[in-house]
Symmetry: C2
Subunit: 340 residues, 2 copies
């Protein structure tokens, strides 16, 4: 009988999270009850928003309690099912636990079709980050052909999809990222028109050069100084989509910066925060488009895979160092029941 | 033959403007050419946005050159007309000069009907500030019955109208202003549900008490710390209308403050800058509603009148001290040709 390992929130981080905030717990395999399914994790997601759940403060995602198993997007295989919709060997995706096995109600799971793309993409380009990019850009960003779209965190799971959809929409696309390997990926493989490395370049100058007609849409995944550099380039009636602010998530005091609202009067720009949760009923719409584009090769993606369940916290910490190119996932196990 | 006095931008202010930035110049009366009208100023407006035009930087309003006559909203009487639409004694409104007399093309003037309300209101409740309030609140703020609407600069020309329209729209209305005389006017005469004096009270606590259900619409005329205090109270899908940022207009360095974008993700709030200029073709729509409300007494207003053209700069400087309750105007002359 296999045992089950799970990652517990051991303590709340102050500033940057460390390994001390996590504890690996070993226990028995749970048994599924009526309508429940025992899922064996194949891939686990780590995402920047999880930093908010480690905090003892109300946020859009409920905070985790110290001593609780943490939650994550998981792609797994069905080991045992007492739900009519699933049977052993099915691949499913759900908001499950940082665990090797989770028991979940079948109604909380979504089937993953292994024929469309590798199943891990259900955590990335064909999952929450892809859907976030799709609606965030198209719904809140309202790109029109000829617009200049700037994306921060452009080589991340969301940003890389945003930029490619913006290209499809006929826009000039400029990415900001923190490594030459990233900016090269953006311009040489993903079709971005330009990219600025904010760690080695003067971002203001780089963006001014890359955006000779100003910025019509700014899709912001990072916040902080990069956002400060984009702001003065906003055009009249520009749209700013605030999707993430990873540069600020580890702040121990309220971060300060230049006051930005006055310029909105000049530009009549609109700044809007987005959460993928608001599009719950419309995932199918986004996934069918994203799936077609992935199948046709029009939408490319990369995954940064960390091997081994024991390395999940490290994979999470890496997000704040910008280690990943594309979607950061943890490969927990090879399939035993699913045929992939 | 009367002479004409005009206020010249003598130098650009550094920080708070002073009397040294203005120079009174005396000259001859201009003569109207074909299609032009000689207008004698009865009332001149001073508005916070003028601070931007004194600055040597691109803004939504073109900067004035040092040595030039400054521009202002003026209500005046026609002395001499070479435009078919106007004749001597007509009352007109236009973007004219800080001057006792201005010659303007007839097409740049709007007729003012003295029978609706005192003609000075064409600079306030039935002029640019009123129209700004009308579209800023109804178009960008999207108030719905039951919403809590917070207005900063609530006793000013724009804010006092915003709050009253929000009441008409079925909202709970809370004003922030800088004097007890102002907050009393708001709650006792204009029908605001509550008002907070930011100079004598803890604004955060005051607003928390006054807004037990959070804030759905924030109409911001001032920026700075008052806005910082409203921000944490924003509800999911709140609308922030950025109309003015008078607290920052005299800053000599880029003002800094708490970074505010992360909270937009939590709330999916929308922040939008507005300029009345964008509603140029729709003034009639707003003015007819505002006029009805003024006539019926549903929309109240106050004017803070400074007497004498020579005191125009002082009236302008007073805006930054919050001297005015309601619209700040300068009474330049009694009518000689118009029958009021």
């Amino acid at each position: 009988m296999p045992t089950n390992r799970r990652w517990i929130l051991e303590s709340r981080p102050v500033g940057e999270p460390t390994m001390e905030n996590f504890r690996l717990e070993e226990g028995e395999l749970p048994d599924p009850d009526t309508d429940e399914v025992l899922v064996r994790t194949l891939y686990q997601s780590v995402d920047p928003y999880m930093r908010g759940r480690m905090r003892d403060a109300e946020s859009y995602a409920e905070p985790w309690d110290v001593g609780d198993v943490m939650k994550a997007g998981v792609v797994g295989e069905v080991v045992d099912s007492r739900h009519p919709r699933y049977e052993q060997g099915d691949v499913v995706q759900g908001e499950l636990e940082w665990a090797e096995y989770t028991v979940a109600d079948g109604s909380e799971l979504n089937p993953v079709n292994p024929e469309i793309a590798p199943v891990s993409t259900a955590l990335g380009v064909l999952g929450m980050p892809g859907v976030t990019a799709y609606f965030g850009l198209l719904d809140a960003g309202e790109p029109t052909p000829g617009d200049t779209v700037v994306v921060s965190g452009a080589a991340g799971a969301v940003g890389s999809v945003v930029g490619q959809i913006a290209k499809q929409a006929g826009c000039r696309v400029v990415g900001v990222a923190g490594a030459d390997e990233k900016t090269e990926w953006l311009t040489e493989e993903l079709g971005f028109d330009a990219a600025v490395n904010y760690k080695t370049e003067d971002v203001k100058k780089g963006l001014a050069t890359a955006c000779p007609d100003g910025v019509d849409v700014y899709f912001d995944n990072v916040g902080g100084p990069v956002t400060d550099a984009v702001w003065p380039l906003l055009n009249v009636r520009a749209r700013v989509v605030v999707c993430g602010q990873i540069a600020l998530y580890n702040a121990t005091e309220v971060p300060t910066g230049p006051r930005k609202l006055a310029q909105l009067i000049q530009t009549r720009a609109k700044v809007e925060g987005i959460l993928v949760r608001d599009y719950e009923g419309r995932w199918g719409e986004a996934l069918s488009r994203l799936g077609e584009w992935v199948a046709s090769g029009e939408l490319q993606y990369r995954e940064h895979v960390v091997e081994g369940f024991e390395n999940a916290p490290e994979a999470f910490l890496g997000l704040f160092e910008g280690v990943n190119i594309g979607k950061q996932v943890v490969k927990v196990a090879d399939p035993e029941y699913a045929k992939l």
